[in-house]
Each structure stands twice: as structure tokens, then as C-alpha cells.
């Protein structure tokens, strides 16, 4: 699986391949073999290059905070409106159709069913987090292809909630 993060304005790429308890990672082009153990939702032990690292992580919106020893890193999700992302989108002729949870929380309302047609601004799902309600709305005319969650369900940050198919996109490729 591949990931992209912005750290301090610089784009980094991580490709991970899991092989049992070990992983093979390619970070910005260099290969790292590591043994990893997820100790808790916030703690990951990484044995790599003959050293032991304990990383603490927490996800907040589009950001992952990672602390290793006394060093703090802020990993950000590259925005889709980044120049590169926008170019890619255009070239592929596709529109992001996955509506994801903005942060860990609870789904309090699911307003749509699979097959429903939605218009921009329609509320699809309501997620409650940090005592605030986040209304996840459709951004373009679409057909609801898949609903991944039900009311009352706990969700993690970025967990897919609803898949949308652009209304004028016709059948899937």
C-alpha cells in the first residue's frame, strides 16, 4: 500500500508491504526492512536498522502527529487541491467519490440509501465528534453507490462513509 504525506511542506512517499510481523517499506525511494508491532491505537514499536523505536501517533483531521523520542513530526494529508493532485485528477478525468469521516467520532444520522440521487449540499451523513456535529454533504450531483456505515456506529478518522458516483458519469469503467 502506498501513502503520501506532506511534512513541513515537502511531499514524502511511503510504500508498505506486510510480510507477517515484518514489513518492507520504501520511503522516498530507499528500502527499509522493519519489524513492527502495533502496541495500542497510539503506540507502534518499530525495530529497524538494528535499533528500537517507539512511535506515538494521534490522528486529528487531515493530520497525523507522530512523536519518536523527543522529536515531533506533523504528517499532513496532501490536499486534493494541491497542484499535483488537481493535475492528476484532471488527467484521470475522475472525481473523488469517497466521503470520509473528518475525525474519530460517532455516526448520528445516515440520510441516504444506496441508489439515491443527491444534489450538491444534500446532507449524506452526520458524524458527531468533540461535541460538534459534522454534516457530510454531497459536493456534486451524484448517485449513492454504497453506504458503509449505519447510525450509532463509531468511526475512525478518514474511514469511508459513503461512495458517490457522479450523476453524469454514467456506468462505471
Amino acid at each position: 500500500m502506498e501513502y503520501e504525506f506532506n511534512v513541513d511542506g515537502k511531499r514524502h512517499r511511503v510504500a508498505l508491504e506486510k510480510k507477517g510481523g515484518a514489513i518492507s517499506a520504501v520511503v522516498d525511494g530507499s528500502r527499509i526492512e522493519a519489524d513492527v508491532a502495533r502496541l495500542s491505537p497510539n503506540a507502534i514499536s518499530i525495530l529497524a536498522g538494528g535499533r528500537s523505536y517507539l512511535a506515538h501517533c494521534a490522528i486529528e483531521g487531515r493530520t497525523i502527529h507522530v512523536v519518536v523520542g523527543a522529536s515531533r513530526f506533523v504528517l499532513e494529508e496532501p490536499r486534493t487541491d494541491d497542484a499535483l493532485g488537481a493535475l492528476k485528477d484532471k488527467a484521470a478525468g475522475r472525481i473523488e467519490g469517497t466521503v470520509k469521516a473528518p475525525m474519530p467520532g460517532q455516526v448520528t444520522k445516515v440520510n441516504v440509501a444506496e441508489g439515491a440521487e443527491v444534489q450538491p449540499g444534500d446532507i449524506l451523513v452526520v458524524v458527531e465528534a468533540m461535541k460538534m456535529e459534522h454534516e457530510m454533504r454531497a459536493e456534486f450531483p451524484a448517485v449513492v453507490e454504497k453506504v458503509h456505515v449505519r447510525a450509532g456506529q463509531q468511526v475512525d478518522a478518514f474511514q469511508p462513509l459513503v461512495e458517490l458516483r457522479p450523476a453524469d458519469a454514467g456506468a462505471q469503467p
Binding site: M1, E2, Y3, E4, F5, V7, H12, V14, L16, E17, I23, V27, D28, S30, I32, A34, V36, R38, N42, A43, I44, I46, A48, Y53, A55, H56, C57, A58, I59, E60, I64, H65, V66, V67, V68, G69, A70, S71, R72, F73, L75, T80, G85, K88, D89, A92, R94, E96, G97, T98, M130, E145, K146, D156, A157, F158, Q159, P160, E163, Q172
Partner: protein
């Protein structure tokens, strides 16, 4: 002994007091505002009473609501902690009137030591050195000008009803005397509702050295040695240690005797702190009495081996002190660092928010008096103290290294805190050499910025970040194919990658 105590506070100090109660077999009552329903002190108590809206005046400063809570739960005594109503003579008097024991000095002693000008007079009357300055607040400019002739520049404008550095201004020349006095008045009026100010000689590089005292209701009074609290930001302490690297046995004994003399002269009972400034020539001046358990009390507990909160409760219950001055001594060295929800980069501005993750250090000689946990919300309503990290070791250098290691093991994610800043204070060569004074942070840390993370750890951090993203059920084939960037496949990666 009491059977039930109401703790009229929140955060780490409420937890500290409740721990002592539990160990003494005393039931506890927590009080909480609407902002604190999920706070740890509510969970730690045997009972909890709701006070009111988050604003302190409607909750933790609401005397009648607290008295009603004590009556309703049958609490026989109230521990006020520090801050809020801890040094409020009206609250102490109101408790007494309601037949509830106030764990602290009585209202009369509180009123006497709470008035800075009055306590300066008391100290001077028994021959205790005080900082040269006015013995009463000034009204006319002429009075301030006269005082300046005696004490000279630089001088310090101070609020007579104040504390916490509010209303304090340094005056360096006749040109800005009037302006600084006006500024002091304005701040004092808004902070304490009283705009009376006075002038004192300003010491350039003093150390802040205070003595812990305990006095019972049977005429016994002892000191439990000093705490050096010179490392301050915004005139508020952030690192404290004991013993002070600046005083030897002879000066220590003299200052300790002075502290006890002041406590006796004010007919003070229970735990208190007598604060002094120590100048570069080893002369000390009485500053004020803090009539409460201090934030930094744990370092004394570690080095002297006395549980101060337990003693407070026992003294309030009428018990005599179980030791005399000659029974007390200092063993090893202790340091405390205060962990605040503040941004040191932005002038230590408080920064509320949600603690996404917290991990506190542990180990031999490491004590963490904390009021937080992962998932806790730091609200903007109260003092931004999160926790106190205290270490105890054989000597100062061992304690300093222990503190450095403990701070490295302290991780708080989600809000800015003072942890990283404190790591650098503890590592600073001037701190290591014991050369501390109250302008230490201004002098050595002006324009401080956090160090960039170690670039050698970036790869590990990126791998950890990728692994931290949630793992959920593999997606449908169509969705998988439409994935554009890995972020859109978040939660979908599974062993073997692609759709499994």
C-alpha cells in the same frame, strides 16, 4: 479525624488532596462545573456535586454553592487546594460560620498575610529584612516621588492586593514613573478590583527562595527548609528545586528561623510558605506569605519526607505536629517542572484544546502529579496547569539528569505544552551550574523556538504514520480501482495490498 472532606478545587491539586484523603480513610466529595463533568477529579471522588456554569465566579468561586454542597453531602471539612478560594478570608469565615472546618489558616490570619502592605509592616516590626519601599499604598504622585528619593531607581510598582505578577512594572527613570504607576493601577483594578499600588526597590538578578512552614494549633511551628523557584515566566514559577544551590547551612538556618518567626507573629496555623528574595550578595528580603498548599509542595515532600497535605488535614483536625524542628532534615535533591497547556513560542499563551494522547513518565524517583489523560479536553476557563513532574535523586546533578530523562519520556499530543521548552531549560549549562535567577528565561530563552525534529527519525515517523491510519474492511473492487491517492484508500490497506 474527619470522615468526609469536600475538595473545593479541580485538576491535579484536587486529585492530590483526594489521594491523601483516601490514604487516611476519609471519604471525598468533588465539586465540578459544567466544563468539568469528564475531568479526573470527578472520577476520583466518592461523591460529586455539580456547582454551575464553567465561569469560575459561578462555580469554583461560588462560596454559597460550595457551602451548600458541603451541607448536602455532610462533609465536615473543606480543602481549598491552591488558587480559587484558597486564600479568601471571606470563604474561611463563611465555612467557620457554617460549622465546616476550613483546612488552612483562620480568616484573621488569612486577612493579615493576604494584605502585602500589612504583612510587610508585620515583618518589619519583628526585625525581618524587607525590600526597601513604601509601607502603604500611595495616592498622590508626590508620595511616589518622595519614596523614590529614598529607594532610588530601578523601582518596582506593585499592586497591594495582588499576586501572580499582575500590576507589576519596573521603573528605570523619573521620566516613566507616572506612566508605570498608571499602568500598574489599571492592571490592578481589572485583576483584583483594587487599584492601590506601592513602590519597592527593584532587585536586578534576585533568586526566589521560599520556606515551607507548618504550624499546629498547639503553638508548635516548624519550617521544612527551602525551595528555590527562580525559573519563572510571566513572573510565575515554572521550575522549582530543593535544596537551593545558592544557600549554605548557616544562611538556611537563619532564613528558616526568620520564616518561623513570621508565622508566629501572624498567629498562623496550618501549611504556609514564606517567600524571600535573595540578592547576589546573599542578603535576603521578606516578600510575602502564601497561605495555602503551594503548587511546588511535592519537592519538599520528597526531600524532607513529610506528606504536607496529610499534615494539613491533621492540623485542621486539631492534631499536634508529630515532629520538632530538630527531627527534620533534607535528603537528596528534588526538582519540579510544571507542565502547562501553553505555547512557549507565543509568549506562553495558554492554548486550550483536546489532548489526543498523553503518556507520562515513570521510574524510580519520578512522580507525576497530573490532572490529565488521553482524550481529556483542556478548557479555556481555568489555570492552564496540566501536571507537575517531580524527580528526587541523591544530588542535584543526578536529579537534573533524572528530570531530563523523565521529560524525554513525557509525550502529550494535541495541544502545545511546556514540555519541550522545559527540556531545554533543564539542559541549559547555566541551569546545570545552578546559576538561576528570576530573569533566567528572559535572559537565556528570549525568542525561543522549538528545535526541528531529528531528520534521522523522519523515515521511522513516516512508517509509523502510515501504520497509524486505521485498518478497516477491504473495499469493493470498484472503489479500490477509483482510488487516486493512498489517502483515499485510507483504512483499506490490508495484508498484500490491492483488494486482497
Amino acid at each position: 479525624m474527619f470522615r468526609k472532606i469536600l475538595v473545593a478545587n479541580r485538576g491535579e491539586i484536587a486529585l492530590r488532596v483526594m489521594r491523601a484523603c483516601r490514604e487516611m480513610g476519609i471519604a471525598t466529595v468533588a465539586v465540578y462545573s459544567a466544563a468539568d463533568r469528564e475531568s479526573r477529579h470527578v472520577q476520583a471522588a466518592d461523591e460529586a456535586v455539580f456547582l454551575g456554569p464553567p465561569a469560575p465566579l459561578e462555580s469554583y468561586l461560588n462560596i454559597e454553592a460550595l457551602i451548600a454542597a458541603a451541607r448536602k453531602t455532610g462533609a465536615e471539612a473543606v480543602h481549598p487546594g491552591y488558587g480559587f478560594l484558597a486564600e479568601n478570608p471571606r470563604f474561611a469565615a463563611r465555612c467557620e460560620e457554617a460549622g465546616i472546618t476550613f483546612i488552612g489558616p483562620d480568616a484573621r490570619a488569612l486577612a493579615l498575610v493576604g494584605d502585602k502592605v500589612a504583612s510587610r509592616k508585620t515583618a518589619a516590626s519583628i526585625g525581618v529584612p524587607i525590600i526597601p519601599g513604601m509601607m502603604a499604598p500611595g495616592r498622590e504622585m508626590r508620595e511616589f516621588e518622595l519614596a523614590i528619593r529614598e529607594i532610588g531607581y530601578p523601582a518596582l510598582v506593585k499592586a497591594s492586593g495582588g499576586g501572580g505578577g499582575k500590576g507589576m512594572h519596573v521603573v528605570r527613570s523619573a521620566r516613566d514613573l507616572e506612566e508605570k504607576i498608571e499602568a500598574g493601577r489599571r492592571e490592578a483594578r481589572s485583576a483584583f478590583g483594587d487599584d492601590s499600588v506601592y513602590l519597592e526597590k527593584y532587585l536586578e538578578r534576585p533568586r526566589h527562595v521560599e520556606f515551607q512552614v507548618l504550624a499546629d494549633r498547639h503553638g508548635n511551628a516548624v519550617h521544612l527548609f527551602e525551595r528555590e523557584c527562580s525559573i519563572q515566566r510571566r513572573h510565575q514559577k515554572i521550575v522549582e528545586e530543593t535544596p537551593s544551590p545558592a544557600i549554605g547551612p548557616e544562611l538556611r538556618a537563619r532564613m528558616g528561623e526568620t520564616a518561623v518567626a513570621i508565622i508566629r507573629a501572624t498567629h498562623y496555623t496550618n501549611a504556609g510558605t514564606v517567600e524571600f528574595l535573595l540578592d547576589e550578595d546573599g542578603r535576603y528580603y521578606f516578600l510575602e506569605v502564601n497561605a495555602r498548599i503551594q503548587v511546588e509542595h511535592p519537592i519538599t515532600e520528597m526531600v524532607v519526607g513529610v506528606d504536607l497535605v496529610r499534615r494539613q488535614i491533621a492540623v485542621a483536625a486539631g492534631e499536634p505536629l508529630p515532629f520538632r524542628q530538630e527531627d527534620l532534615g533534607q535528603r537528596g535533591h528534588a526538582i519540579e517542572c510544571r507542565i502547562y497547556a501553553e505555547d512557549p513560542e507565543a509568549g506562553f499563551l495558554p492554548r486550550p484544546g483536546r489532548i489526543l494522547f498523553a503518556r507520562e513518565p515513570e521510574g524510580p524517583g519520578v512522580r507525576c502529579d497530573s490532572g490529565i489523560c488521553s482524550g481529556a479536553t483542556v478548557t479555556p476557563y481555568y489555570d492552564p496547569i496540566l501536571a507537575k513532574l517531580i524527580v528526587h535523586a541523591e544530588d542535584r546533578e543526578a536529579a537534573r539528569r533524572r528530570m531530563a530523562a523523565a521529560l524525554d519520556g513525557y509525550t502529550i499530543i494535541g495541544i502545545p505544552t511546556t514540555v519541550e521548552f522545559l527540556r531545554e531549560v533543564i539542559a541549559h549549562p547555566e541551569f546545570a551550574a545552578g546559576r538561576t535567577h528570576t530573569h533566567f528565561i528572559e535572559q537565556h530563552f528570549a525568542g525561543w523556538k522549538p528545535r526541528p525534529p531529528d531528520p534521522a527519525l523522519l523515515e521511522v515517523a513516516l512508517i509509523a504514520g502510515a501504520l497509524a491510519l486505521p485498518e478497516t474492511a477491504p473495499p469493493s473492487g470498484a472503489a479500490q480501482r477509483r482510488a487516486l491517492t493512498p489517502w483515499q484508500t485510507v483504512g483499506r490497506w490490508a495484508i498484500g495490498g490491492e483488494g486482497r
